[in-house]
Symmetry: D4
C-alpha cells in the first residue's frame, strides 16, 4: 500500500503525470518472463514470497523463476519438486537444498530467523508422511517452530493420547489423514486449538482418491476444524503459520 | 429344501405327475395378492418372516399383507410405518403395536421366545436414535437380547469409554452415526467384536444425505467393520441378529 | 486433565478404590438425559460449551438440554433454531434471546466478557447474510470483537477494496460466498491474515447446493485459506474465534 | 443451400429424375475414406473447414484426411497433434507447420487473409498456456487478430489490471483458468465484452481434473460469460472468432 | 475509469488530500442499503444495470433495491420473480410490469431504444419456454431485436428445418433444451452463427435436473457453441445481447 | 418420405415453384399451437403418434394438444397424467379414459386392432407396479399382446421360476426393478429373449433415486439386456412393442 | 428344461434315487477348470455360447477356456483380446482368427450358417469404429446379416440422410457415439426400428469417459431407444441379434 | 484393560508416582520406528495383530515393521504385497511365505492353531479370485476353516445352486462380485447365514471401478447383508473370521 502512496505523492507533487502514473502502478510488482509474471511484491503483501508449484512446469521455467525470485531478494520455496527438477535448479543455484520427504526445494537469500510460537503437525499413517512433511517444512519456512507427531491413527487411540499435552501447547495444529479421515475429529474433541485438517489421497476404492477423507473432515461434529484441498500440505502449512504469526504481530492487539 | 424333497418323493412314488410337480413347486411358498406375492416360506428359508417395508405402499396393501402373514402363522414386522399406516393396521388387527421411536409396527402370532446372546446398539447423536431403535427392535424381534448406548459421538470420547466393557461382551455391535461417520472406527479400535456400521442421513451440505458418513465407514482403517445402506437400521439389526444366532445354532460347530 | 489428576490423587491416597475410580471417571463430564448425554465439561476441555444444533430435535429435547446446560452453569448457544423452537425455549427460560438474522438462540448465565481482538466477517451477497451472521454471532459469543462487511461480491470489486484496511487489521477473516465461490481467493490475494472460507448453498443448477462454491474454495490458488462445510457459519465462527483467542492466551508464547 | 437450389432446378427442368436427385443430394458434400467421411462443404456451411481432432486417430488416418482436405482446396487445422503425428503429416505434406505451444498442425492452401477485429486471450497461470495458445491460434486461423495476456491469475490482481483497456477494446475475450476458475468472473466484473471461459485440468485433488473450475465458471455471478468443455481451447477459439466475424459480415445489419 | 481520472486530477491540483482520495474512490459507485450495496455504476462499467435475482430475497429487500436503482436513474430488471414479489414491487412502483412467461419484473426510467441487430432464441420443447422467454426478454432489455422459435426438438427435425434461414440471419443464437440436450449440436451443424446453449432442468431420472443436458452441450462435436448454467436464460440473454451489440459499437473496428 | 416425393413430383411437373416448395415442405407435418408444434406425421414416420408427457404442462396446454391430435385423426396417449389433468381432458373429451395404475390417459379415434405377438412385463416389487403398468399399457397401445408378472424380486427366486416358460414365449421382455436392480440379470440368465430393463426410483439412501439400479443393469454380466431411463416405463413399452412388431412386418424378411 | 424333465423321468421310473438326482442336476451344465466353471449349456439356454471377456484373464486361462468350449462342441468368441492373447490362443488352436478392428478372436467348430434378417450398425466418428465393429461382428456371429455405416455424426447431418432407407429396412439398429451422444436421438427421430444405443468413451474433460454420452442417450426425447454400458459393442451386438432372430423363430407367432 | 489396572495398582501402592504413570501408560503398546508406531498390543486388544498394508510403503519400511512385529512375538500378515516387496522381506526373513493368488506375505512365529468353524468364500467370476483369496487367506490366518466356491455368477445360476448346502453350513459367508454386484442378493435369498459382500473393481465404463457393484450390494432387497470397501478382501476376511470366532468364545454365552 505504501507503494501506492508513494506514486500518489509523486502525482501530488507533480513529479509524475497522471498517464504515467496509471502505467507505472503495477510495474514494480512483477517481473515478466513471458510465460510467467513473477510476483515480487507478494511477500510484502501476503507475508510469504511467491511459491513455485512445480508440476506442469518445465525445468527451464522453474530455473528462470528461481533466478527471478533470488534476483529480487526473495527466498525460494518450490513444492512437489521431482528429483529431476531439483537437479536442474541445483545446477544453476548450487545453494539449493532438496527436502526429499517433503518433495520441496529451498534456497535461502538471507539468514533464517529464529522460529517462534509452535505449530504441531500430526499424521495418521506412514503413507501420510510426505504431505505432513510438506506442511511442516512450509510452516518452518514461514517462521514457525514445528513439532511432528506421525502415525497416530484412530485404529490405536492410545498412540495419540500421550501427545495431547504437546498439541494443547501449540498455537495451531495441522492434522493429516487419508482413508476415513477421522483423526481431526478425534484430535478436535481433545484440545481447544485451531485445527487445519488435510485429507490425503491415501486409500483405495471408495476412498475416491481422498474425497472420502475430505468429506469426513468437512462434516466433523467438532467445531473449529477447517479443511484444505486433498494432499495440500503446503496450504495447511501456510494457514497454520499465519495463525502462529498472529500472536507475534497481533494486528488487533 | 425338505419341501422339495417331499414333492420329489411324491413324484418317485407316482403320486404326482411330472407336469403337476412343475406347477406345484413354487405354490406353497407364496400367497398371490395380485399386487404382491407374500413369501410365506421366508422364515423357514431365511430365519426371518417377510418384512413389510411401508413407504410406497397404500394402507390397504399393508393391511392385506399383514393379514396374509398372520393367516400363514407368521409374526409381523412392518418398518418405516407412519402413524396413519399404523392406524389402518390397528383397525383391522387390534393386537398391532406401534413402536414410535423405531417407526415399526409389530403383531405377534405366538409367544415371544426368551432373548439370547447380546447385541449392542451404539449411536453417535440424538438425531440418530430413530435408526438405532429400528436396528435394536429388529434384532430383538429376531431373538437377540439388546443393549442400547445412545449419544456417545467422538466430540466427547469419554462418554463412550465407560461402555467399552459392555461392548466387549456383545456377540455383535451395531454402530449408528451420521455427519463424519467416525464412531465405528473409534469403537472398532477398542474392541474385537464384529461391527455393523450404519451411516445416517443426519447432517447437511457435504454430508450429502449420509454419503459422507457411508464413505468414512467403508474406508475405515479398522478391519472387521462392515456397512449397510444409509439409515438402514433394519438391515443392521438383521445382520447383527444373524451373527448373534450363529452362536446358538452353530451351523459349523 | 486436572480432573483426572484429582481422581488419581484420591487413588494414590487410598481415598478411592480402583474399581470405584474406573466407574467415576466419566461421571462428572456428562448429564444423561436418556436421549442425550450433555457434555458439561466441554467448555473446560474445548473452550466452548456444548452447542445445541436444533434441526432434528424436538422442542422438548431442546428445552431439556438448555436447562441441563444452565444447571451446570454454562451459557447456551442454540443454532439453526426455528421461531417455534425459540418459542418453546422462551416459555421455560424467559431470558432467552432470539437472533433472527443468525437463526440463533442464546441464554446468558453470567456477564458477557469484554470482546477482544478482531474477527472480520465478509459476505458476497445479500442471500449469504444468514450464514455470515451465524459466523459473526458465534465468534462474538466466544469473546471476539467482530466487524461485518456484507454484499461485496466479485461482480463489483470496488465495493470490496475500501474495506481492505479493516481486513488487514483482523486476527482472522471469515469469507462467506455462494455461486462461484471466488470471493475468498480475491480477498486472500489482498491480505495476509488467516482466512476461513464458508461456501453457501446460494445458487441453482450446477451450483449443486453449494458444492461448486466449496470446490472453488478448496482449489484456491491463494495459500492460507481453509474451508468449512457448506452453510457452516457456526463452524467458521468457532475457528475464527479460536484463532482470535490464540493471541490472548498464547499457548506457545 | 444454393446447392440444394441447383438440384431442385435440375429436377424442375427435367435434367434430373427424382430418384437420382434423392441419391445425389449429399454426394458432393463428402469424401468417403472408409474410416471417415470428410465433410468438404463444412467451410461453406459453417465458415470453418472440418478440423482434425488427432487423439485416437492413427498417423495414416490423419495423413489421408489431410490430403482429402487439401485436394478439395481447404486449409488444414489439426488439433492435439503429437510430435509423431506431425512427423507423419510433414513427410507427406512438407508445407505442414507444427505450432508446438498450441499442439496444432496447420497447412495452408491459399494466402492467409489480413486479420480483422480483435480477440483477446487471457490465461491465469503458466500451466494454462497450451490451452490458451490453442484458442489463440484457432481464432487467428479463422481470421481474427489476437492478443495474448498470460499468467494474470487472481492471487495477484494488479497483474491483470493494467491490461483492462486492451480487454475492453476486444470484440470477444477468451479467459482460460484451472484450479478455482475465478479469473473469468473477475475479468467479467471489469469489462462489458462477451467472454468465453475455458476451464483447464490444471490442479489436483478436488480440482477433479477441471470440474471445479468448470463449475465455478458456470456459476459466475457475472452475466454474459459462457463456458466450453475442459481444456477446449479450440472450441473457445472458434466461438470467439465467430463473434469477431459477426462485426465484419453483420448478418442482421 | 474517467471517474478514477477525475479523482486523480483533484489530487494533482491539490483539491484533494491523498488520505481523502483513498476513502472517496469507491464511494460514488454504490448505495449501501445495509443488506445490499447497490452497484449504481454497473451499467456504465458493464453495459447493463445491476439486475435483481429475486430468489432468497424478501419482498422488502427487493422493493428497496428497486427504489435505489430508480433513484439513480437506472432501469429495473428483476428475474425469477414470484407473483407475490411482483405484487410487492407494484404496490410501491405502479409502473412495474410483470412478464409472466419469463418470470421477470421490469420498470422503465426512460424510453426504450429502438432494437438493433437480431438475436434468435430457439427452444426444444414446451416445458423449456420459461427459460427461453427469460433469455429473449433479457436480450430485448439490452437493446436486441429478438425472434423466438419454440418446440423444435430433435424428435421431429423437419420442424426445425424451415427456420434455418432465420437462424442464419441472426448475430447470435440462443438454443434452450432439456433432456438429452442435443438441439444445440444439431442447430450448430446447420449454421455458422455464435450459439449460446442453455440446458434446462426439464426431464427426470438420469436427467439429473439438467446435468445430462449440460454435459451433452459441453461435449458437442460442433465447435463454436458455448454454454451457461442450467436454466440460466438470463445469462444466455446477456451473452447474446453483448455479441449483438458488438456489431453496433464495434470496439475493434 | 412419400410426402417428400409428392412435393418433388409437383416441382417436376411445374405445379409448384421452388420457393413455394421450400416453404411447404415441413408444413403438413405439424400443427402450430404457439406453445407447441404438434407432430401429426409422427405415427407415419415412427409407427407411434406423438405422445403427451404431462408433467410441466398446464391443463389447458394438454387439452389443446389432445384436440389437435384427435383433429388429425390420431389416437391419444398421455403419460404421467395427474387426476387433475385427466379431469381437464375428460371435460373436453368425454371419451377419455384414465388408467390409474399406469397414470395414463388414452383417447381412441378408431377401433383398437387385435393385439399380436407377446410382450412380457416383469416387476420386482409392489412399488414398481406403476412403472411396469406404464410399460404394459404403452405396449398394448402399440398393438402388442401383453402379460404381466408382478412382485417376483430376487429375495425369493422361486416366485420367478414358475413364470420362466411364459417369458421364453415372449418376443420381448420388459423387466422393472428398483433397489439393487438385480432382477434383469437373473431373468437374462434364464431366457434367450431380448430384455429391456427399467430401473425405478424405488429405494432410499445409496439407491440415489434409481441410479444404483440403473448402474447394476448397465453392468449386467448377461449380454442382450439394454436399459432405459429411470422410471421410464413408457420408453420400455415402446422399445418392446417395436421389437414385437418386427416379427409382424419383418422389414428384412 | 427338457434336461430337467429327463432327470425327473428317471426319478419317476426309479432309475435315479432322489439323493443322486439332487447331485446330478447341475453337473452336465459346466466344466470346472478350478479358476472357471465353463458354462457348456449356455448356448442351449441363451442362444449364444459362453463368451470370453479377455481383460483380467491370463493367456493360460484364456487358452484353457477356449479348449473347454471347443471340446464341448461350441464356437468361440473372445472379446477385447490383445495381440498377445490372440498369439497364445493361435499357438494352441491354429484355426483361431483375429478380427483386429473389433479386437475379437473367433474359432469355428462347425460351418457358419447363412446370415438372416438385417442389423444396421451406425457410428458417429472414426474413433467409435472399434466399438461399432465389436457390435457388428458379434451380431454376425449370432447369425445376423449386418450393414455398417461409419462416421455420420450430427456435425454434418447430410452424411446420415442418404442411409435412412437402409436403416428403415433393418430389424434392429445399433447406434454408436461418444462425445455428446446425440446421434441415436437424431436417428430415432427418422426411423421406426428398435434402436440399441452404445455410448463410447471417445471425448475428454466433461465427457467423463463416456458418461456424458450415456446420459444423453438415456434421456433421449425419442422413445424406443435403449442403451447398453459404455463401449459395450458386444452387448449391443447380442441385443440386436436377439431382436433379429425373433423374426426368424418367432416365439409368440 | 488389565494393563491399566496394573499401573493403577502401582499408583495405589505408591510404587509409581502420578506423573510417571501418565507418561508410562501408552508406552508398552507401541514400538516407535520413526516413520511408524507398531501397535504391539493390537492382537490382545483386537484379536488380530497389526497388519501391514503394503502399497505406499518402501521395502525398507516393510522389512522394519515385519521385524518389529516378530520381535514382539506376533505373526505377520502383509497384504497387497508386490513380488518385489516379498523379495525384500524374504531376504531378511527367510521363513516368509508369498501367497501369490492373494498377494499376501505371511510369517509365522508359532505353530498355527487347528482351524475352527467354517467361513465360505464365494466369487462371481475368474477376475474376482484375487480379492476372494485375500479374504479366504485372512480368515484362515485368524483361525477359521475356509471353503472356496469360485466363478458362480448370476449368468448361470445352476452353477451356484449345488453349493447351497455348503453355504448353509457356514458360520459366515463372504460373497465377492464385480460388474452388477448381484450375487450377494441372490445368495442371500437362498440362505440364512450372515453375509459379508465385497464389491470388486472388475468391469468397465459405468462399473465406475466397483462403485456400481458397491451400490447394488448396499441396496440389496435381502436383509442381513453388509458390505466392505471395493476390493477389500482383507476386511471381509477379518469380519467373517470375527463372526466365526464368536461361536467359539461366545462372549455373551
Amino acid at each position: 500500500m505504501s507503494n501506492l502512496k508513494h506514486i500518489l505523492e509523486q502525482v501530488q507533487t507533480g513529479q509524475l503525470s497522471i498517464d504515467e502514473a496509471v502505467k507505472q502502478l503495477p510495474a514494480p510488482f512483477e517481473v515478466d518472463l513471458g510465460f510467467a509474471r513473477v510476483d515480487t511484491h507478494r511477500k510484502r503483501r501476503r507475508g510469504l514470497p511467491e511459491v513455485i508449484y512445480c508440476p506442469g512446469k518445465t525445468c527451464d521455467q522453474i530455473v528462470e523463476i528461481v533466478k527471478a525470485l533470488l534476483a529480487s531478494g526473495q527466498d525460494v520455496l518450490a513444492t512437489r519438486a521431482s528429483e529431476e527438477q531439483f537437479g536442474a535448479v541445483a545446477e544453476s543455484v548450487p545453494t539449493a537444498v532438496y527436502h526429499r520427504d517433503a518433495r520441496i526445494v529451498t534456497v535461502d537469500c538471507s539468514e533464517r530467523p529464529v522460529p517462534s510460537g509452535l505449530v504441531a503437525v500430526v499424521s495418521a499413517g506412514t503413507s501420510d508422511i510426505p504431505v505432513a512433511e510438506e506442511a511442516a517444512l512450509t510452516a518452518e519456512r514461514m517462521g514457525a517452530r514445528v513439532e511432528r507427531v506421525h502415525d497416530v491413527g484412530v485404529a490405536g487411540l492410545h498412540r495419540l493420547m500421550k501427545h495431547v499435552p504437546l498439541l494443547k501447547s501449540a498455537r495451531a495444529v495441522v492434522v493429516v489423514a487419508g482413508m476415513e479421515g477421522a483423526l481431526p475429529s478425534v484430535v478436535g474433541g481433545l484440545i481447544d486449538r485451531p485445527i487445519i485438517a488435510v485429507p490425503t489421497s491415501v486409500g483405495y476404492g471408495t476412498g475416491l482418491n481422498g474425497l472420502a477423507a475430505l468429506l469426513a473432515m468437512l462434516n466433523t461434529c467438532v467445531p473449529g476444524i477447517s479443511v484444505v484441498n486433498i494432499d495440500n500440505g503446503f496450504g495447511a502449512g501456510v494457514a497454520a503459520a499465519m495463525i502462529n504469526r498472529t500472536s507475534d504481530v497481533d494486528p488487533a492487539g
